[in-house]
Symmetry: C2
Subunit: 300 residues, 2 copies
DNA sequence: TACATGTGTTGCGTGTTGCGCAACATTTTT
DNA sequence: AAAAATGTTGCGCAACACGCAACACATGTA
């Protein structure tokens, strides 16, 4: 059933005359007539009764009419839903994020985004850099936020910003008084809470240790940033992280960041990635743009 | 929304690959691809996510899919109803009949017709010849059964059969013993129950009375055949009617028919009529054919 | 690493199809 | 009897959808 055919049938039933529809559609009566006969042929049943003046639907025509009206109503509902999706008033975006991005994301990106597009839902998986890139490659997540992404032909970098690892300490503590930039040897003396090498950050720390032949004083090793944050905030020691990971605490004044005199740490970098070759849904595109503008991790 | 587009979209969602659909439909992948993009353009929203291997419906695609499935189910129901109509298993025919045809119609035509096409419903209006022809002209009824139809360019005669008016009497009564054919003068002496001139039959009787300058002995004048039938069956007198009107009673032996020696009465004729120029619904056509074959009024 | 095979997409030439114009058959109105 | 209205059919053209080929890209394999 062609849409053009059924819609003209509707109008003909409504107006009760072929010619009336023809003039209102600015088309030839023959066109209308042909469409009607085509529809009747397609359905194999007579739909209109040709009467003295104009036409009138037969019983089959009435049935079709009823069907089309119901269908039109459903179509209207469907297009309304499409409008919602188009206007980003609905949709779902799945994210895979390194743990360090969670607070930045939730604090700086999501609130304003949800305000603009309230009906969009998120799926968020947090994991190591490797896990995130796995999710991206397997289309489990639309977007990935990772620290020190290893270049991968399957992953396309939508945005990247330098985020040097810094020394984080409690402001009043002894370690906060170190002359900055802090050297690797000074750092090695401080009790520290470090991420396990499973994460990008932890891996970078291990790498630096290997390069410089030093071993930091690990008071705590964890795969959870919460543990490390608390460790530092309580003044039990220091850690090495990009500043944006503890942006809240820095703003509060409960943690301060000091530069490290280690070029390798300066090469730290955050990336927003997606699978290369994938055409992202609109909602994901919008969020990506929004994130790289609003998240602290992507400010130079 | 073109049907071709949506149906290919359905298949693509089902098979998960454009090329798979292309081979199964024996068409080029480009055709399928173009149809999909056309549908997406028409709806203004992305429906399919192009993935590593094949395609997968987006959220909008899922919505459309759901919509189309529901629509397909309704279409199936609709075509089933059409099948029913086509197969004459449903439909409605409106009839306008002279009262004399009712028993013939109900006894001889409808039972066998309803047996063949059980779901067809009837609307039946009974009235005078004029009223019936009015109904036909105004498309109130598909078919009309009338006695002595006046030729009318708006009405087309589908069938007509001579049905002379006869003398009807109770078999054992005095009037049944009259030498036949019965003359007009003999008839004039008998107490009779006659139809009012509003009907075709009553009009013909009046006409004959005028021509021959006689006046029948009206014991009863009525516009209802039931009254006349009962009058004759009870042996209270005679009437003048086509034999088929009291076919049941003749078969029972409760009424007998005698020929009348009046040429004008012999010109009595029944007609099955429809509006000229009207294309009748299938059900009406079928019924017309069935009626002229099964009704006693149309047997020579 | 290079190649073969899989995916979907785009440019171009061609065949089908739906459309407008005109004439027609019928019926209603003047 | 003519005029105006209805729906229908024949014919020619133009737009559109399709097939073919080449392409872009990703994936698996020698």
């Amino acid at each position: 059933m062609d849409d053009k055919l059924t819609s003209t049938f509707l109008r003909v039933c409504q107006d009760g005359s072929i010619r009336a529809v023809a003039v209102s559609l600015q088309q030839e009566p023959s066109t209308i007539s042909r469409r009607l006969t085509a529809l009747e042929t397609e359905l194999g049943i007579q739909l209109l009764e040709r009467r003295k003046k104009g036409v009138k639907p037969t019983e089959a025509g009435e049935l079709l009419l009823h069907h089309l009206r119901g269908q039109a109503a459903e179509l209207e509902a469907l297009t309304a839903e499409f409008d919602a999706l188009r206007g980003m008033r609905r949709g779902s975006v799945s994210l895979a994020v390194g743990e360090g991005f969670i607070s930045d994301l939730i604090k700086n990106a999501l609130p304003s985004f949800k305000k603009a597009y309230p009906e969009i839902t998120f799926t968020m998986r947090s994991g190591s850099t490797e896990a995130v890139m796995q999710d991206i490659q397997n289309d489990v997540a639309h977007l990935g936020f990772v620290f020190n992404a290893t270049p991968d032909r399957h992953c396309k970098v939508l945005a990247h910003t330098a985020q040097p690892l810094q020394l984080l300490a409690k402001p009043a503590s002894d370690w906060a008084k170190t002359t900055s930039p802090v050297s690797i040897s000074s750092l090695a003396l401080m009790p520290s809470a470090l991420l396990l090498p499973g994460s990008g950050i932890g891996a970078m720390v291990s790498e630096v240790e290997t390069i410089y032949g030093v071993r930091l004083r690990r008071a705590v090793e964890a795969n959870s940033l919460a543990a490390i944050r608390n460790f530092v905030r309580e003044g039990l020691g220091v850690t090495v992280l990009p500043a944006f990971v503890v942006a809240q605490e820095i703003a509060d004044g409960t943690i301060m960041a000091l530069p490290l005199d280690v070029p390798e740490f300066a090469r730290g970098e955050v990336s927003l990635i997606a699978r290369s070759g994938r055409r992202l849904p609109e909602a994901a595109m919008k969020l990506a743009n929004h994130a790289m503008r609003s998240m602290q991790a992507f400010q130079a």
